[in-house]
Amino acid sequence: MAAPMLELKGVRTAYGNIEALKGVDLDIREGEIIALLGANGAGKTTTLCSITGLVPPKSGSIVFDGQDIRGARTESLVRKGLIMVPEGRRIFPGLTVLENLKMGAYLISDKRAISQDLEYIFNLFPILATRSRQSGGTLSGGEQQMLAISRSLMGHPRMLLLDEPSLGLAPIVIRNIFDIIRKINRENGTTILLVEQNANLALMLAHRAYIMTTGLITLSGTASEFLNDESVRKAYLGG
């Protein structure tokens, strides 16, 4: 099997004296959808922040595309195609939808590519085309999540790190968004690392999954293994 696209080995990250990650090992191959599951405070978001350099890890190695990226600046990783959709959507409420999308293409200077991408996004989420002149803050939660995902797509990601895209959304909206995530993965071959609390849904979508508990990966396997494993179901999926 080919070398993994992203590989974490013994990653330790701390906020002051509190160690949030106590040696995380994780690998993702190109084209996969990986779900990273776990309870609140398990270190899922910290793992994403460690990868993207928002919170630099203390030790361990993070290799993306054969290069050690531990401690690299976030913007250089975005340039390499490693893009995160931050938790809680974090769209720019005062900018219009169109401007939000253009912010996603900040590092892309080819104007024709940007307008093609816009067209692609508006096909993917037609509601964003309707709302393109509206300011981001006026969108509903689901629309904001669509905007957040679209905004990161504008930066031509090779790997997308999604932090709880289902947070605070209605089930029907979540399904819609998960369908789109699957579509992005299939059509563009974008590798996806999905952090979720909604384990059932995430496992339906993912190829493989990791389960985190208090700063460590405690279980890993294919999504179907998890869905069929009685003990996992009991512990993490609510029966």
Partner: protein, 468 residues
């Protein structure tokens, strides 16, 4: 709705109002007690007591308090109608913004260029028909417009609170004064040099402090402003507190403007015979600079970098996730803002022909910041209006000069309560909401009773906008 007691028992509500008014006037009387009652007589070294002014103060406060509460109530009722709109399914943010103003309407229409041309023509003719005094005031006001627009990039657009902006203004002014004094360099050479010095100092200061945010950045920049002033006061080369005098005005191809040219202008164009023609030149220089600034700031705001600044103000983490180099983006804003202070400083030095460190005090930074806040953060027309209001009005209302700061303070408080976005709010926050099935350039939300169209593009077309 907001005040159920008033609809149920009007008598009790009025009583409550009177009570609140009395409370306010009692409070003011206590606060102002020593100020209003004690009178120091310096010649006889005695302190006398007189309570005769207190009742007037109490009465005035009472009336003002009642009025104040009335206007606040009215504002709250506007909030209710907004809540009603919201219950009809309109998104909150859309309703929040004010209706389009005459400004956005004019600037969005096809009369935009004629209106601008008339305005420009008026500004161009002004110095030839007005008394010298007014030209001086206008030069001062335009210097503040360009300072305000420069600070607007830093504070209004990027959200970096810079309280030491005057330091960069001083650097521009001193660059011209010193280079002119010691090396004999002229205005036109020093104009870019002053800008360069201010920009470089902006970068130097910005580099270590830009990682600070909010209050911390404000404190550091405030200190920097004070340090600059103290250094200028104590250096020998700047002649300390005595300052530098006899700074030459801007030259015009080496011509003597107050010679035959002045005779010609006075004879043929009706220019005031006491007018210093150099002032007219300075007026046009600063007018040109302001126009250049407006174009630059406008282009910047709608550029990739400008969007990054706006986005940075809203969410730094998301910006980083988009691949924006946070430090670099902030530093550019900081340094670019300083550039305009430098330019304005050079013009200022040539205009006044004398500068000393006391001119560049902390109060001046506050004044420029007030222009930005009063006018409307991030709004170009707002900042222009703010500068005109805060600079020209005090000049015209000399009779009230004693009460200048009092009026200024009251104005600021009133504005923060009733118009927190500034006199002319940033167009970015203006939305038009249309009810009913009128036609717009784009399809409305499906199935909604209301058609909503954001008017963000008015006067500042977004790329790909057919209206531009």
């Amino acid at each position: 709705m907001t005040n159920p007691s008033s609809s149920q028992k009007p008598g009790r509500a009025i009583l409550a109002e009177i009570k609140a008014g009395l409370l306010a006037s009692l409070w003011i009387c206590l606060l102002a007690f020593p100020l209003m009652t004690l009178e120091i007589n310096p010649s006889s070294h005695t302190i006398s007591f007189s309570a005769s002014r207190l009742p007037f103060l109490a009465g005035a406060t009472f009336v003002l308090a009642i009025l104040w509460r009335f206007f606040l109530r009215r504002r709250a009722f506007q909030g209710v109608s907004k809540a009603v709109l919201k219950s009809e399914g309109l998104p909150e943010g859309l309703i929040k913004g004010p209706k389009p103003t005459w400004l956005t309407v004019v600037m969005g229409s096809r009369f935009r260029y004629p209106v601008l041309a008339i305005l420009l023509g008026f500004m161009a003719l002004l110095p030839f028909v007005s008394p010298p005094y007014l030209v001086n005031v206008m030069v001062k006001a335009l210097i503040y417009v360009s300072l305000g627009l420069g600070l607007n990039v830093v504070v209004g657009v990027s959200g970096l609170l810079n309280l030491g902006y005057v330091a960069f203004y001083a650097m521009g002014a001193y660059t011209y004064a010193l280079l002119g004094q010691y090396l004999g360099l002229g205005f036109w050479v020093c104009l870019p040099l002053g800008a360069l010095v201010a920009t470089l100092m902006g970068l130097l200061l910005g580099f270590p402090v830009i990682r600070l945010s909010g209050d911390y950045l404000a404190i550091v920049t405030l200190s920097f402003g004070e340090i600059t002033r103290l250094v200028l006061t104590n250096l020998d080369i700047t002649r300390g507190p005595r300052g530098i005098s006899n700074i030459r005005p801007a030259g015009f191809f080496g011509l003597d403007l107050n010679g035959p040219i002045k005779d010609f202008l006075v004879a043929n164009l009706g220019v005031d015979k006491d007018m210093d023609i150099n002032k007219i030149l300075t007026y046009f220089i600063i007018l040109g600079l302001v126009i250049l600034t407006i174009i630059c700031v406008f282009r910047l705001e709608n550029s990739r970098l400008g969007r990054a600044w706006l986005a940075m103000r809203e969410d730094e983490v998301a910006c980083q996730a988009m691949g924006i180099n946070k430090t670099r983006a902030k530093l550019t804003a900081f340094a670019l803002g300083s550039t305009w202070a430098g330019l304005a400083g050079v013009v200022f030095a040539s205009h006044l022909s004398f500068i000393n460190p006391t001119i560049f005090s902390f109060m001046e930074s506050i004044m420029i910041l007030s222009i930005v806040v009063l006018g409307g953060m991030g709004s170009i027309p707002g900042v222009i209006l703010g500068a005109l209001v805060l600079i020209v009005l005090p000049e015209q209302l000399r009779a009230f000069s004693q009460y200048r700061m009092l009026i200024f303070g009251a104005l600021m408080v009133l504005m923060m309560v009733f118009r927190p976005g500034g006199l002319i709010q940033s167009a970015r926050e203006v939305y038009l909401h249309k009810l009913g099935g009128q036609d717009g350039p784009q399809g409305g939300p499906a199935g909604g009773a209301a058609r909503i169209e954001a008017l963000n593009g008015a006067g500042r077309p977004v790329e790909g906008d057919g209206r531009g």
